[in-house]
C-alpha cells in the first residue's frame, strides 16, 4: 500500500527541476493535495489562490496563455462542480494548456462524508470537448502521470486519491495517454477498470478463476480519449464489467457502454456507486458497503455472463 497523493507530490516536485515552465496552483489545500511539496522547492512558481477554486482555474488559464504549464489543484468535487464553468469556458473551449488535478477522487476523503466525496467528477469532465481525463490506478501510475500529462499539449483532468492504495505497478511505470493495458487475460469475461479499484479487480479475477471463470482485466488509465480499439478487442469474449469509484452514471460505465452500443453490442454490468449519495466512514469499508467490493465485481461478472 502506498499513499497516492504523497507519490504524486514527490513526482511533481521532481518534475519541477527539469521543467522550468511548470507552475503550480492550489486553493488552500496544498497540505492535503501535497502540492505543498512543490511549493517548498519552488516557492516562486507556486500560487495559492485561497478558497477560490473558480478563480484558480481562470488564473491557470491565463498562465497557460503566456506559455507556462500550470497544474491547478484542489479537491476533485470542487474542480468538477464549483469550477465547472471556468473549466468549460476558459480551459476546454479555449483549449488552454491547463492541467486540472482533482485530489480526493471518489470516496477517498472517506470520513469527511458526501460533501467531500467526488462521485460525479468523471461524468462532468468526460463531457467536456477537448479535455482529456486521466485516472491513475496506483501510486506508481500517479507519479508517472505528472510527466505524461505535462508533456501532453492540451488540457487534462487528472483524478487522484487521498488514500493509501494497493500497489499494482512497478516503480518506473510508463504511462501513455490514450492507451489502456491488459493485466490478465481470460476467455470468459472482461473486467474493465478505471482508477484505484484495480487490485480488487485482480482479486475478483482470482476468485472467478477458482470457479472456472477466466477473466481478462483491463486498466483504462485514460478515461478520455478511451482506448476503444482495446475495449473492442477484449469485448470479443462477449461479457464486459466496468469498475470505477464513481457513480455508475456517466463515468467509465457510460463511456464503455457508449462505445460498445455503437460498435459491438455486448452485455455490460457496471460496478460503482448506484445513483445515490454515500456517508462518512473508514475508506475500505465504505467501498465494500457502497457496491465496490470484490464480491460485487464477482457478482457483476456472473451477471454479465448470464447475458
Amino acid at each position: 500500500m502506498t499513499e497516492m497523493r504523497e507519490a504524486y507530490g514527490r513526482a511533481l516536485q521532481a518534475y519541477g527541476a527539469q521543467e522550468p515552465r511548470l507552475v503550480v496552483l492550489d486553493a488552500d489545500v496544498s497540505a492535503s493535495t501535497r502540492s505543498a511539496l512543490f511549493r517548498a522547492a519552488y516557492p516562486e512558481r507556486f500560487f495559492n489562490c485561497g478558497i477560490a477554486e473558480a478563480a484558480m482555474v481562470d488564473v491557470a488559464a491565463g498562465l497557460a496563455l503566456a506559455g507556462l504549464i500550470p497544474f491547478a489543484h484542489t479537491f476533485a468535487f470542487l474542480l468538477a462542480l464549483r469550477a465547472a464553468e471556468p473549466v468549460r469556458t476558459c480551459v476546454a473551449y479555449a483549449r488552454t494548456n491547463v492541467k486540472l488535478v482533482g485530489a480526493y477522487g471518489g470516496l477517498s476523503d472517506s470520513r469527511d462524508g458526501p460533501t467531500h466525496h467526488a462521485i460525479t467528477d468523471l461524468a462532468v469532465m468526460r463531457a467536456m470537448p477537448n479535455l482529456s481525463v486521466v485516472v491513475p490506478a496506483d501510486a506508481q501510475e500517479a507519479a508517472a502521470a505528472v510527466a505524461c500529462v505535462a508533456r501532453h499539449q492540451g488540457p487534462v483532468y487528472l483524478r487522484l486519491s487521498r488514500a493509501e492504495v494497493p500497489d499494482v505497478f512497478q516503480p518506473g511505470q510508463e504511462l501513455v495517454l490514450g492507451k489502456g493495458s491488459v493485466l490478465r487475460e481470460g476467455r470468459h469475461v472482461a473486467i474493465v477498470n478505471c482508477g484505484v479499484l484495480l487490485s480488487r479487480c485482480l482479486q475478483a479475477a482470482e476468485r472467478l478463476s477458482a470457479r472456472g471463470i477466466e477473466a481478462t482485466v483491463v486498466n483504462m488509465t485514460t478515461l478520455k480519449p478511451l482506448d476503444e480499439a482495446l475495449l473492442l478487442e477484449v469485448a470479443d469474449c462477449g461479457a464486459v464489467v466496468t469498475v470505477e469509484e464513481h457513480s455508475v452514471i456517466g463515468g467509465l460505465g457510460g463511456a464503455v457502454a457508449e462505445c460498445l452500443a455503437k460498435s459491438k453490442p455486448t452485455p455490460v454490468r457496471m460496478v460503482g456507486i448506484r445513483d445515490t449519495f454515500t456517508e462518512s466512514g473508514p475508506y475500505e469499508a465504505l467501498l465494500d458497503k457502497w457496491g465496490m467490493g470484490v464480491a460485487d465485481i464477482v457478482a457483476a461478472c456472473q451477471a454479465a455472463l448470464a447475458g
Binding site: E44, C49, A55, D58, A61, G62, L63, A64, A66, L68
Partner: protein, 275 residues
C-alpha cells in the same frame, strides 16, 4: 502631452468603430449594440494609441495583452481589430454567420488578435491575473489590459480575481470598467447596486482612477498614469453612456442585445455623420 490632432483622430476613429458596429449588428440581425457603443472611445484609445501590438505578428511575444472580459461587446473588438489591420474589413460582415471567425463572442482559437475566449461574464479578471503573474514571473515588459462591464462586477469571480491581483502586487495589470449603468434586465443600480465602486476597488487594494469614458484625452492620461504605479494593479472606472452616439439607443436596456432595422440603422448612421 497628447496633441489635439491625435485626440481628434482618435475621436474620429471612435465614431468609425460605432458605424462599423451598427452595420455589423444590422447585417447579423443580432448582437450587442449598447455595450459596444459605450466602449468606442476606450477601444479607440487602447487599439490606436496605447497598446503595443503588431497586426503583422499577432503572436509577437512582447505584445501587450488585451482581454475583452465583457465579451458581448465583441462587435467593437472585431471592428477595432479590423481597423487596426488584424483582419480584412470585409470580414466584419460575417459576424455570427456559420463558418465565420467572428463568433457571437470572441474565440481565441478562431481569430488571431483575440487573446482570450470570452463571453461568459466574470472570467476576464482572473484570466488577466494569470497573464500578469506569468509576465511578472518571467520578468517580461508587456502589460495586461482588460475591459470589464459594470453589470459584470456583480459576479463573485471578479472579486476573487481582484483579491489575487492585489496579493501579488500586479502593477503590470490595468483594468478598465465600462460603467454604463445598464445591464440586460435594466439599470445596474436597480438590478444589483455595485456602488460605491471607487471605495470597493480601493478596499481591495487597487489603485483607482475615475474618468469620463468618452473623453479620449483623459483615457490616455489614465492609461499612462496606471503605468507609474509600481505596487498594485490599477482600475480605471470609465463613466460611459450605453448606446452612446445614437440618441434613441442611449441608456436603454432594450438596446443591450438587439439589432437595428433598416430605418433605425439609417437614423443612427446619420446621427454619427461621416468623418
Amino acid at each position: 502631452m497628447y496633441p489635439e490632432s491625435l485626440i481628434a483622430d482618435l475621436e474620429s476613429r471612435a465614431r468609425q468603430l460605432r458605424r462599423d458596429v451598427l452595420q455589423m449588428v444590422h447585417a447579423a440581425g443580432s448582437g450587442h449594440l449598447g455595450g459596444s457603443l459605450s466602449a468606442a472611445e476606450i477601444m479607440a484609445a487602447l487599439y490606436f494609441q496605447h497598446l503595443r501590438l503588431d497586426p503583422q505578428r499577432p503572436d509577437w511575444p512582447e505584445r501587450d495583452r488585451f482581454i475583452l472580459s465583457k465579451g458581448h461587446a465583441a462587435p467593437v473588438l472585431y471592428a477595432a481589430l479590423a481597423r487596426r489591420g488584424f483582419l480584412p474589413l470585409d470580414e466584419l460582415r460575417t459576424l455570427r454567420q456559420i463558418g465565420s471567425r467572428l463568433q457571437g463572442h470572441p474565440d481565441r482559437l478562431k481569430l488571431p488578435g483575440v487573446e482570450m475566449t470570452s463571453g461568459s461574464l466574470g472570467h476576464g479578471l482572473p484570466v488577466a491575473v494569470g497573464l500578469a503573474l506569468a509576465a511578472q514571473l518571467q520578468g517580461a515588459k508587456w502589460r495586461t489590459y482588460l475591459l470589464l462591464g459594470d453589470g459584470e462586477l456583480q459576479a463573485g469571480l471578479i472579486w476573487e480575481g481582484a483579491l489575487m491581483a492585489a496579493k501579488n502586487h500586479l502593477a503590470n495589470l490595468t483594468a478598465v470598467v465600462d460603467q454604463n449603468d445598464v445591464q440586460l434586465d435594466g439599470p445596474v443600480h436597480e438590478i444589483m447596486p455595485i456602488e460605491p465602486l471607487e471605495a470597493k476597488w480601493r478596499a481591495f487594494n487597487w489603485n483607482v482612477l475615475m474618468v469620463d469614458g468618452h473623453n479620449v484625452r483623459r483615457l490616455l492620461e489614465s492609461l499612462d498614469e496606471a503605468e507609474q504605479v509600481h505596487d498594485r494593479p490599477t482600475v480605471i472606472i470609465a463613466r460611459t453612456t450605453k448606446g452612446k452616439g445614437c440618441s434613441f439607443m442611449e441608456n436603454q436596456a432594450r438596446w443591450h442585445g438587439r439589432a437595428p432595422n433598416d430605418e433605425e440603422l439609417a437614423c443612427a448612421l446619420e446621427e454619427l455623420g461621416d468623418d
